[in-house]
């Protein structure tokens, strides 16, 4: 029996990619879509060839087993709580929550309803990261000392720069991916965050400069550039890089480096055409496997990382939330799991 999945909101552009994966992977089917913007719901339903619902009717009448939530960040809590009340498993777009209060409420709602909550961290499933993970977990780099990392990109605009909907700018948007990778890679928890946050790129009323230092409970420390700092003329949307130094060696991850350089006279600038794996596909595959209890439809030959849970999502969000606090106070801020 295929897992029936619904999508709640297409506000985040990743929703369309997740929908395509659900439709093309064995073991799942896209049961329908809902959105608080009716026009967007109709457009996506027509494009995907699935029925359109309201949020409650999707949860109560579409016979779904699970939902993927891709609303604006600040709406995650409301939609997760709605899905939990309807006893539907959830894959929620990152950042899971923009406040600790929201995140804890979401975890509580899912726990009390016996519902599985997962966070959409596709980078965990990119083969380049999975191989790095295998290398580090095999002890080949020895004890981890430090890491220089980036998840910086072009400003995504739209609701991302409206902090009433996004809960924050670049630091809220881009901190969590690498924070999650560092937790998964090191097996350690972040204990302290220092951050410089500013608006020196667009000079708007949202942050686009986010330069963090994260310390972990095993002694690992890392810098992360999570800014929306790349110019419009840049090759592509951005990057995920992680240069790790350990007592036994170093490793450099440049996740989206599997590219062709494309120079087309029809375009104004050269671009990169990525031929590497689509990490979204492996993420949705892992979600399907978690729901069905069967092997993921797209196995990774180097040992698959676990799907990030709601707790993982909140742990990464805590780093972003602490970063804002650090930037306000000028001090390193301690991060404590609840």
């Amino acid at each position: 029996m295929a897992i029936r999945i619904g999508i709640m909101s297409f506000a985040h552009m990743h929703a369309e990619s997740y929908a395509e994966q659900i439709q093309s992977l064995p073991g799942a089917e896209l049961a329908g879509v809902a959105d608080h913007e009716p026009e967007r719901a109709r457009t996506m339903a027509a494009r995907l060839g699935v029925p359109v619902f309201g949020y409650e009717t999707l949860l109560r009448q579409a016979d779904v087993d699970a939902v993927v939530i891709c609303s604006e960040n600040v709406r995650h809590r409301e939609l997760v709580e709605m899905a939990a009340a309807a006893k539907k498993a959830v894959l929620c777009e990152k950042p899971l929550a923009t406040t600790i209060e929201d995140g804890e409420a979401m975890l509580k709602a899912c726990r009390e309803n016996g519902v599985a909550l997962y966070t959409a961290f596709p980078c965990r499933f990119h083969p380049a990261y999975v191989r790095l993970r295998q290398t580090v977990h095999a002890g080949e780099l020895g004890a981890l000392i430090g890491a220089r990392s980036s998840n910086h990109g072009v400003n995504p605009d739209g609701w991302f720069t409206d902090t009433k909907l996004s809960g924050g700018g670049a630091a809220m948007d881009h901190t969590v991916h690498v924070a999650d990778l560092l937790r998964d890679l090191s097996g350690a928890e972040p204990v302290e965050v220092y951050a410089e946050i500013g608006n020196g790129i667009r000079h708007g009323d949202f942050d686009d400069v986010a330069m963090l230092t994260i310390s972990f409970d095993n002694g690992l420390f890392a810098t992360l550039d999570a800014s929306w700092s790349l110019p419009k003329t840049f090759w592509t949307w951005g990057d995920v890089t992680l240069y790790v130094t350990g007592t036994g060696g170093t490793a450099g991850l440049d996740m989206f480096a599997q590219n062709h350089q494309v120079f087309s006279d029809a375009a104004l600038r050269p671009r990169l055409s990525n031929w590497g794996d689509n990490a979204d596909r492996h993420l949705v595959s892992a979600f399907i496997a978690a729901l069905s209890g069967e092997a993921p439809p797209t196995p990774l030959p180097w040992g698959a990382p676990p799907l990030a849970t709601g707790e993982d999502g909140l742990a990464a969000a805590r780093v972003a939330i602490a970063a804002y606090q650090s930037a306000r106070t000028g001090e390193a801020v301690s991060v404590r799991p609840s």
Binding site: A143, I145, G146, R148, S150, H152, E192, Y194, E196, G198, G200, I201, R202, H203, D208, V209, M211, T213, S215, N218, G219, F221, A222, T223, D225, S227, S229, L230, P231, T233, F234, Y243, T245, T247, G249, T250, G330, E331, A332
Partner: protein, 346 residues
């Protein structure tokens, strides 16, 4: 013909000798080293006429003194040379302590002689050209800067790099280059926050050192500097600057115009790939040429003792931050030691 001599014949002594021996207006007459046998071997190998029995003898015999010793010895030799009326170029870091840096500024002022700390990055084409591109406005107002510098743990006489009290580790010895280039290019630093394996790794590391330093500039720009002596691969550098109108990116691992792969004798597999980035402009030559030109013309080098002080202060502030967990403000040299006629860097 300027008579020049070098104190300290380690790696930098060789590099500086290479540069002076290309200069027709410089007579590199000799060397002094705390190890006389080493000095003798160096002089013979490099064709220098004189091995001085003491630093005093060297200082008394030449016009220009070039100090290439391990860091803790810099201040003593520079002071002696300045007060003897010599012009001095001193390897970075200018001194091991800020108090010594202040004494050197004061000594240069009192003696009226030239003292140039050898912050050579300003003369490396990949850095001077980046500064030029940024000053042309290509990135607009700089907002974020990331740099990397490092390679394997350096080995030298008496393993002095391995003694933190002498070298200050990768933070004081190596990424001081980036600190000076950053300050030259982006202006004064307001404060520093850092993590350093020397203080922050849970166990002592044997000949591994790694630091991540955040600099906040008065302009509002933020830099993250990675320094490593824990890289088993080759030495490499990286720099990226993003501003409100663009970005500039350089990675020495990517910008490689020549790669030579030599087949191992008798081996079926396993050559050694050696990347090369040859330029006719050698940063060390350009740096020392500038210094000699300034001495000849009686003008002030673009790198002042105050610049040398700031570079050391930023590095020591980074280590202080790593030790305390707090950010550390950059103050600059005490007003009383800054010479009136000594230009303060922009």
């Amino acid at each position: 013909m300027l008579r020049v001599a070098i104190i300290g014949v380690g790696t930098m002594g060789h590099v500086h000798t290479d540069a002076y021996q290309q200069m027709p207006d410089v007579d590199l007459v000799g060397v002094y080293d705390a190890d006389p046998a080493r000095a003798q071997a160096f002089a013979e190998a490099r064709g220098l006429s004189t091995v001085y029995p003491s630093a005093e003898a060297l200082i008394g015999d030449v016009d220009v003194v070039d100090v290439c010793t391990p860091t803790p010895a810099h201040a003593e030799y520079v002071l002696a040379a300045l007060y003897a009326g010599r012009d001095v170029v001193c390897e970075k870091p200018m001194a091991r302590s800020l108090a010594d840096c202040a004494r050197l500024i004061a000594a240069a002022k009192e003696s009226g002689r030239t003292l140039m700390p050898a912050q050579v990055l300003r003369f490396f084409p990949e850095y001077s050209s980046a500064t030029a591109v940024i000053r042309q406005g290509a990135v607009g107002n700089p907002a974020t800067i990331r740099t990397r510098r490092g390679g394997p743990f350096p080995r030298a006489t008496n393993d002095w790099y391995g003694d933190f009290a002498q070298s200050g580790g990768v933070t004081l010895d190596t990424i001081i280059h980036d600190f000076d280039w950053l300050r030259w290019t982006f202006g004064e630093v307001e404060y520093v926050y850092a993590k350093a394996s020397y203080y922050n790794h849970p166990t002592p590391l044997d000949h591994l050192d790694y630091s991540l330093v955040t600099l906040k500039f008065r302009s509002g720009a933020v830099a993250q500097v990675e320094g490593t002596w824990a890289e088993p691969g080759s030495f490499s550098v990286f720099l990226e600057v993003c501003g409100d109108a663009g970005m500039i990116h350089f990675d020495s691992m990517e910008s490689v115009p020549l790669r030579v792969n030599r087949r191992q004798q008798g081996g079926a597999v396993g050559g050694v790939a050696v990347p090369e980035s040859p330029t006719s402009a050698n940063g060390y030559y350009l740096e020392l040429r500038h210094f000699i030109d300034c001495v000849q013309a009686g003008t002030t080098p673009t790198i002042t003792p105050v610049d040398g002080y700031y570079a050391v202060e930023i590095a020591l502030a980074a280590l202080e931050s790593a030790r305390t967990g707090k950010r550390v403000a950059i103050q600059g040299p005490p007003a009383r030691v800054i010479a009136e006629r000594m230009p303060v860097a922009a």
